[in-house]
């Protein structure tokens, strides 16, 4: 049996649920996580170096914001 890929609707629904619990999270962050969930995150367990890079880019998003912007 082959592994089932995650559908776009499924990913969006999960992000919507998670965002409802944490409305402070910026749109850009959610968009990045969505891309990851449909690509790199489902291919393999990522090495810590790669996860550090992603964490850095998420942190950079917070620094570039003039105060975090809530998702709509």
């Amino acid at each position: 049996m082959t592994d089932t890929p995650l559908s776009s609707d499924w990913v969006k629904a999960r992000l919507r649920d998670a965002r409802a619990a944490s409305p402070l999270v910026p749109v850009a962050t959610i968009q990045l996580i969505e891309v990851l969930l449909r690509g790199q995150f489902i291919d393999q367990e990522l090495p810590s170096r790669k996860l550090s890079e992603i964490a850095d880019s998420l942190l950079a998003q917070t620094e570039s914001l003039d105060g975090p912007k809530a998702a709509p």
Binding site: M1, V25, F41, E45, L51
Partner: protein
């Protein structure tokens, strides 16, 4: 995908050349213990498990298992070779050198390596392995079938990303820093609100900077600090000295030292038992696994304490909270060291100012000032030891004590300025920390977001797992019902225990009572039967890659009745799959030969193993009438001889099944009976024992059968023996002999249901019949 053939050369028990020709059919392979039948299964395992065979994993088998994989009598400089040919003519060829290193090649590699060994091969000693496995082990085994690998990856990546964010965003450090700032604010401003703080800043701004100008609190703080600085510039040396001494007096080194010591002590108290417990984890791992399997108490892998399985989860949670508490203490210690170092820097800065020179000299404090100048605060920040604390306490705290005493003599305006300076410093720190607090708030929100996302993914995993497990359970239940019709063990199903994330177990109803594990009540035979159902249910889901199934002696512990049911199971559930059954059970082999469709099944037997140099050999007694007919044109005598050999074997099997009493013969003649010997007794017994249903519904002697047997027996004695010994049988004679032999074997097949007379009918085991009961053979009625 089907296997056309498996060829072995010097692999395991095989000598120079051995081929299992399947022609893409399913097969039953019979061989006594040690005949070498499992060598074919070993070949499959060797290929699927990257050159490893589980039962050869042993320190004596060699680095590449070469001492077990290669025939002990392989000629020098010859490699072992195994070749698997698929029905599309593609081939996988593995050549194994004497040192065990192997090279594999061929177009079939990709297809064959797509087969999961655990879904392809079931061996005798593995039948109940799934049942014996832990709940977590069962989950791991089923996981590939769930198709949830991407979700598992996603959940783990989200979890690790949250950890990386916490680490790189310095969440813990920021929390500790904000707590320290809050403590300083409380000390300076008490319970005042943010508005009070802003008003305080506004008041000091008006005092030092006048009306108008800056409106932001932070800007105002900076303006106030600058204004105070300007005012101080006009102070006399005496005033500046008092001001500095007031600053030094405010440095509470002692409380900082105490905070560091307190956190260090707390850590030391917690760290020592923790280390011991972690070491215990390593020692108790083996016992932990054994205890879980036994269902007793388990030793917690985090701390080693014995706990009941049910409480294990709670216990682990508590352990996690304890470790989190320790981390918080660790952060607190780091923050306390940070404050201590900040105060030391302030002390160094103050003491080094020239205005304090006379004061130091007057108080005999120059030596302490020199020691302070030599102190590496950066080093203390990285590694603050008790020696450092002691030095700070004995050498530098007296400086502050002396400064505090001297500061009391400061003029009121200096005291006022010093107090304002300190107040504005704290106010500025509080205002500036708002950005840090905002960032921390965001990071905490992000962590909550990721946690919620991970939870969502794990909920999905659980939901999808449940669906697949329900489907598997339905298949298991169907198969179990086929093997155990009408028995009081029912409701066999897999389930995910409540509150467990990655665990699966098996439950069933035993005489109406729910049982959480088959190990509680099932006998070994039933457990193996259930293990077979579990394997087949899981294998059934591999429809996409369609690998063949190898069942190696898996019915050893099943009784005759339940072994018989396996045919129905295979016919109902695996009609389209290639199945290779290997057995050392001659009765079962005979039964399978009778019952399985010869159009889709092959039957092959191995000779007893002789010696490694000769290797595994096929028995010649497994020819078919098709083989016999192939000789008709060129060698009619060989055709007749082949037919006779077939009858020797087939009639022996039927006589055994029908419990036909054969006279005892001296020495090894019992093992060399001919078809005529068996047929002679079958005819004698059959006149009374063999019956068929008559037109009125009652049973009558099966006279036609006896007539057919007699005709065949006559030909076997005449033309059969001529073919074997005289070699002068002509084609028409051989043709007629083959037809008669086929007709005789056909007599044992019911003309109505097309099933052989094999089925044990009553408990007293006196009666065999076909599926529909049209034909019967009553034991002991001769």
């Amino acid at each position: 995908m089907r296997i056309r053939s498996i060829s072995l050369a010097w692999f395991r028990g095989a000598a120079e050349s051995l081929t299992l020709e399947l022609g893409s059919k399913s097969a039953v392979i019979y061989g006594e213990n040690g005949a070498g039948k499992s060598s074919f299964v070993d070949a499959i395992e060797y290929v699927l498990n990257n050159g490893k065979i589980g039962h050869l994993s042993h320190e004596y088998s060699g680095r590449h298992q070469e001492k077990g994989v290669i025939n002990t009598h392989t000629p020098a400089d010859v490699s072992a070779v195994l070749t698997i040919t698929l029905d599309d003519d593609s081939e996988l060829r593995a050549e194994i050198k004497r040192n065990g290193t192997a090279t594999a090649s061929g177009a079939a590699s990709a297809a064959v390596h797509g087969w999961d060994y655990r879904r392809t091969v079931l061996r005798q000693d593995e039948v109940a392995a799934f049942i014996r496995n832990t709940k977590g082990g069962k989950y791991s085994e089923i996981l590939p079938l769930l198709g949830l690998r991407p979700l598992e990856f996603a959940a783990e990546n989200v979890r690790q990303l949250a950890k990386a964010l916490e680490r790189q965003g310095r969440v813990r450090e920021s929390r500790a820093e904000l707590e320290m700032i809050k403590a300083r604010r409380d000390a300076a401003f008490g319970e005042s609100s943010d508005l009070d703080l802003v008003q305080t800043i506004a008041g000091r701004y008006e005092k030092y900077c006048g009306q108008g100008g800056a409106t932001q609190a932070l800007t105002r703080c900076e303006a106030i600090t600058a204004a105070i600085g300007q005012r101080m510039a006009h102070y006399s040396d005496e005033q500046r000295r008092h001001l500095i001494l007031r600053d030094l007096a405010g440095l509470d080194l002692t409380s900082s030292i105490n905070a560091v010591r307190s956190a260090t002590a707390e850590l030391a108290n917690a760290a020592e038992p923790l280390l011991e417990e972690k070491l215990e984890v390593l020692r108790s791992t083996g016992g932990f696994i054994a205890a879980v399997q036994a269902g007793n108490e388990v030793a917690c892998p985090a701390c080693g304490q014995p706990v009941p399985v049910e409480e294990f989860r709670t216990h682990v949670n508590n352990e996690q909270e304890r470790l989190k508490g320790m981390l918080k203490t660790l952060d607190g210690r780091k923050a306390a060291i940070g404050v201590l170092c900040d105060r030391l820097n302030a002390l160094k800065s103050g003491v080094s100012k020239p205005e304090l020179g006379p004061w130091l000299e007057q108080g005999g404090l120059e030596q302490r000032a020199k020691e302070l100048a030599a102190l590496s605060v950066a080093q203390v920040r990285v590694n603050c030891t008790e020696d450092d604390l002691r030095q700070i306490e004995t050498a530098f705290v007296p400086l502050i004590v002396t400064a505090t005493a001297a500061a009391k003599d400061a003029p009121p305006d200096v005291q006022d300025l010093a107090a304002d300076t300190r107040l504005i410093e704290v106010a500025r720190e509080v205002v500036a920390s708002r950005k840090l607090a905002e960032q921390l708030k965001y990071l905490i929100a992000l962590a909550a977001f990721l946690e919620s996302l991970e939870r969502g993914v794990r909920d999905e995993i659980r939901g999808r797992s449940q669906r697949v497990i329900d489907e598997l359970s339905a298949d298991i239940q169907t198969m179990w019902t086929i093997l155990h019709p009408g028995e009081e063990i029912e409701g066999v199903r897999l389930y995910m225990p409540e509150g467990s994330d990655k665990a699966i177990d098996i439950e069933l109803k035993f005489f109406g009572v729910e049982q959480e594990s088959p190990r509680l009540t099932l006998s070994e035979g039933y457990r193996n039967s259930l293990g077979l159902c579990l394997f087949l249910a899981m294998a059934k889901r591999e429809a996409e890659t369609d690998p063949p199934l190898f069942l190696d002696d898996v019915v050893v512990s099943l009784d005759r009745k339940h072994r018989g049911m396996i045919v129905e199971l295979l016919e109902k559930e695996f009609r389209t799959r290639q199945v290779i059954l290997l057995t050392h059970d001659r009765d079962w082999y005979a039964e399978l030969r009778e019952r399985l469709d010869s159009g889709t099944w092959l039957f092959k037997a191995l000779l007893p193993y002789d010696k490694p140099a000769v290797g595994i050999r096929w028995s010649a007694k497994t020819s078919t009438f098709g083989d016999a007919r192939a000789f008709l044109t060129d060698a009619p005598d060989a055709a007749g001889n082949t037919a006779r050999k077939i009858m020797d074997t087939e009639l022996a099997l039927r006589a055994e099944r029908l419990k036909v009493r054969m006279p005892y013969l001296a020495a090894n003649r019992n093992d060399h009976r001919t078809g005529h010997d068996f047929l002679f007794r079958i005819i004698a017994d059959g006149a009374v024992c063999f019956r068929r249903k008559g037109a009125g519904g009652g049973y009558e002697a099966y006279a036609d059968a006896i007539t057919t047997f007699r005709a065949t027996d006559k030909l076997l004695v005449t033309w059969g023996n001529k073919a074997s010994h005289g070699f002068d049988v002509v084609r028409p004679e051989a043709e007629k002999l083959i037809a008669e032999c086929e007709a005789t074997l056909e007599v044992f097949i019911c003309p109505n249901c097309r099933k052989p007379v094999y089925k044990l009918v009553d408990a007293s085991a006196e009666l065999l019949q076909c599926e529909c009961g049209h034909l019967q053979w009553r034991y002991g009625k001769a």
